[in-house]
């Protein structure tokens, strides 16, 4: 058993209207991974932000290696040996990958000029360790979200601290990168680092963590050894009750096609053809960079189409903007809630209704009572944890923000709903609620295109699955046929072909 490196005691923290943490304790051990679990809004990120100098605690103390310490600011935290990968990306979009990795601790020569080549080389090494192929001189806004996440990880690792906090690091990653990350975590354990690991994917907890700490409603519930606990019990600690089956798949018997895409081609995707039945969930799987998000956005009218056509309920459609797509019954929920999904400066209610304001129009202005009522319905329906509907979205926990984005899309009552990584950052209970919603949508005769990097989710909830790679469709599987091996086979075969052709 590892030595206790970190100890947090009696930590409390309040925000206006919310007691985010209430007398919480938390430990981390040398050479071990401590999972920090809890529902959305339980206070996980807040606790870690206190530890990493972002927030100041109201009460309590922090001991590192037995010595009490105050963490004044983020820099102070990593100077004292605590590094964190935040839940939300914190990169500077216009700076390059290596510039971001070394931000705040750039290497300079004796003449105080930057050692650019050296830093590029070091960045490359760090990225190589993570087995990701990223040119360190590319700007952050030129690489995909998943790669950005890998850059964040590389950045945290480069600090070489004794405590490393990872707040939902696998959120934007596909299985391939997750495996790589886990390899790295194992190396870190061997190096006797203490790791804090936050995730809503319980499978990962059993794979990589040694212990779990569970928070509920800002309170400490329990600390346990992973070897002595099972999934059901963890869920019970988190939610306070047991949950039944995780994937409540509902079979619908329809044959009518509502939406068809034929030979869709543009800058991002090539020759995409598929059709979607009424009441069907079509899963789209693929590796990071497969162009799935781009496909979703192309359909949504955000990118121009070079060739091909789309047919909705028998009629050929063309959308010059998302507005037109929404008006025609197609809605897209972005994978990147912070920069594309939500207006963080606006309140919960205004975000939920933003795409559907026509519903609240009346002679003079908006029917705010109705707006309030309907937003409140959605808040309850998908259990958005917020003190009021007028809370700014930026003050919600990550998972609750995601729920707001989904509520917004549902309110438009789309015929075809495109969900891009819909359960990213959402807790087990809420996931279940969203899956139930999928079933409601299906029953109402609407259809869903679900882009997801979470294999169990794709396998568990899709009626059919399309596998994409490098902007093209590589295969299609029915629910019955699909297994994670088969999906990976489509991709791996492609990858091997590509490597072979490169060699020859």
């Amino acid at each position: 058993m590892g030595r206790e490196i970190l100890r947090m005691e009696n930590i409390s923290k309040s925000f206006p209207g919310v007691k985010a943490l209430d007398d919480v304790r938390f430990n981390a051990y040398e050479g071990e991974v401590m999972a920090l679990l809890g529902e959305n809004g339980a206070g996980k990120s807040t606790l870690m932000k206190i530890l990493s100098g972002v927030y100041t605690k109201d009460t309590g103390k922090i001991l590192l290696n037995g010595k009490e310490l105050e963490v004044l600011n983020p820099k102070d935290a990593f100077d004292k040996g605590i590094a964190i990968i935040h839940q939300e990306l914190n990169l500077v979009p216009n700076l390059t990958v290596y510039e971001n990795i070394f931000l705040g601790r750039e290497e300079t020569t004796t003449y105080k000029t930057l050692k650019k080549d050296y830093m590029i080389k070091e960045a490359k090494k760090l990225l190589d360790r993570l087995k990701v192929d990223i040119d360190p001189t590319l700007k952050i806004n030129e690489i995909s979200l998943a790669k950005q996440q890998m850059v964040e990880i590389a950045k945290a690792l480069s600090l070489n601290t004794s405590v490393i906090i990872m707040d939902e690091p696998t959120d934007t990653l596909t299985d391939k990168e997750v495996d790589i990350l886990f390899d790295v975590i194992r190396e870190l354990k061997a190096e006797k680092k203490a790791i804090v690991y936050i995730s809503h994917r319980l499978k990962e907890v059993f794979e990589i963590c040694d212990r779990v700490t569970v928070l509920r409603d800002g309170k400490f519930i329990d600390e346990r050894l992973v070897s002595e606990i099972d999934e059901e019990e963890i869920i019970k600690l988190m939610v306070g009750r047991t949950l039944d089956e995780q994937f409540p798949y509902l079979k619908t018997n329809t044959s009518e096609f509502v939406f068809e895409v034929k030979n869709l081609t543009n800058k991002y995707v090539k020759n995409i053809s598929f059709s979607l039945k009424r009441g069907e969930v079509l899963g789209i799987s693929g590796l990071v960079g497969a162009g799935r998000s781009e496909l979703g956005k192309t359909i949504f009218g955000l990118y121009p189409i070079d060739e091909g056509e789309m047919i909705l309920e028998g009629k050929k459609v063309e959308f010059k903007s998302p507005k037109e797509a929404i008006e025609n019954g197609i809605m897209y929920v972005s994978e990147d809630r912070k920069s594309e999904g939500l207006v963080l400066t606006m309140d919960v209610k205004s975000n939920i209704t933003l795409s559907s304001l026509d519903k609240f129009k009346r002679a003079l202005g908006l029917d705010k009572k109705k707006e309030e009522r309907i937003s409140e319905d959605y808040r309850k329906k998908i259990n958005i944890k917020t003190p009021t509907l007028t809370q700014k979205v930026k003050n919600l926990s990550g998972g609750n923000q995601q729920k707001v984005a989904i509520a917004k899309s549902l309110l438009t009552q789309p015929k075809v709903l495109i969900l891009d990584e819909p359960t990213r950052g959402i807790d087990v209970g809420a996931k279940r609620e969203i899956y139930d919603l999928l079933n409601v949508i299906k029953k109402e005769g609407h259809s869903v295109i679900m882009i997801s990097s979470e294999m169990p989710e794709i396998l568990g909830m899709s009626d059919r699955i399309i596998v994409m790679h490098e902007g093209k469709i590589k295969g299609e599987l029915t629910k019955e046929e699909a297994t994670s091996e088969k999906i990976m086979n489509y991709i791996i075969k492609e990858e091997e072909d590509r490597i072979e052709s490169k060699i020859s």
């Binding site: 903007s321 594309e340 939500l342 207006v343 606006m346 205004s350 209704t353 304001l357």
Partner: protein, 311 residues
């Protein structure tokens, strides 16, 4: 709305200024003088109301002063040539709308930064005004025209100066648009996160174009008030007004980064500026020292606001 006004940003600062000035100058807190202050403030306040829309979308409009000048000149010209008063006013407003839209188009379709686009319009229209007036003021002649102008400048409705009534109406409408309509919601969304607004089905270009149009229209209405106050259109009218308007908006707590702020804050901001100007005159502060006092009071007002917020 009253509660919200109290929440409006530098409200505390405004109250303090009023108290201090009232104590220092016996002439200040009289009905007449307060109406005078309101009348003086109306011009900047109306421009600032339009500017609030633009700034909420994360833009800026430097052209308001020139639009004011140009539409005033057009209006004076038409009036002097016997055009019907209503038509002349409509023409002025049309000028504001057209050049506001022009700004909007250059910014959205031309993808030019608002600062540069409206700077160009500012210079362009000042030049156009000079060419149009040949650099000379146009004094409005004609009985009906001068009467109407005098009414706007000096007339009263229920004891309240006409210009002040205009300002109140403008603010009620703007408040309504920003807080109770779809368009208003979209203004905040575009300023808060343009990409997210776009993906939520907001026609972001249209939202911005309209904001600049509103700004242009309100600048031209302010132009009519200036025209009526002076009974003549000055070729340099409105020069530098953009700064006062932006200051009123920002003083009112609206962020230049967009998406955050309130039109009521703009009222407060404009009032602070207006009262300061009036008070410094009443207190007979020497003109050079006026600048120094003005700067310090503005700083104190925003700093007070901030302290208030942190509690």
């Amino acid at each position: 709305m009253k509660a919200k006004l109290a929440k409006a940003k530098p409200f505390l600062g405004l109250v303090l200024i009023v108290i201090v000035v009232s104590i220092l100058s016996p002439n200040f807190f009289t009905k007449d003088n307060l109406l005078t202050v309101l009348r003086q403030t109306s011009i900047n306040a109306i421009i600032a109301a339009g500017m609030t829309f633009v700034i909420l979308t994360a833009g800026i409009d430097l052209s308001v002063g020139s639009i004011l000048g140009f539409s005033g000149a057009i209006c004076a010209y038409l009036l002097t040539n016997g055009t019907n008063v209503i038509l002349a006013f409509l023409a002025a407003v049309l000028v504001g709308a057209v050049f506001g839209l022009f700004n909007g188009v250059v910014i959205t379709k031309g993808k030019v930064q608002p600062f540069i686009a409206t700077l160009a319009t500012m210079i362009l229209l000042r030049g156009a005004t000079m060419v149009f007036t040949n650099g000379k003021p146009i004094a409005v002649k004609g009985e009906s025209a001068t009467n109407t102008l005098r009414y706007i400048a000096r007339g009263e409705i229920l004891g309240i100066p006409v210009a002040v009534v205009m300002m109140i109406v403008v603010f009620i409408i703007c408040y309504h648009i920003l807080h109770n309509t779809k368009y208003g919601r979209h203004v905040y969304a575009v300023g808060g996160n343009e990409q997210a607004a776009l993906l939520s089905g907001v026609n972001t270009d249209r939202v911005k174009m309209l904001a600049y149009m509103i700004s242009g229209i309100l600048a031209s209405i302010a132009g009519i008030i200036v025209l009526s106050r002076l009974s003549s259109a000055q070729p340099t009218a409105g020069d530098g007004y953009e700064l006062d308007a932006i200051a009123a908006v920002v003083l009112g707590g609206t962020s230049l980064a967009g998406g955050q702020g309130m039109i009521l804050g703009t009222v407060v901001g404009a009032m602070i500026i207006g009262i300061l100007n009036n008070a410094l005159n009443l207190l007979d502060v020497q003109s050079y020292y006026q600048m120094i006092v003005r700067a310090i009071v503005i700083l104190i007002a925003v700093l007070l606001d901030r302290k208030d917020k942190n509690k």
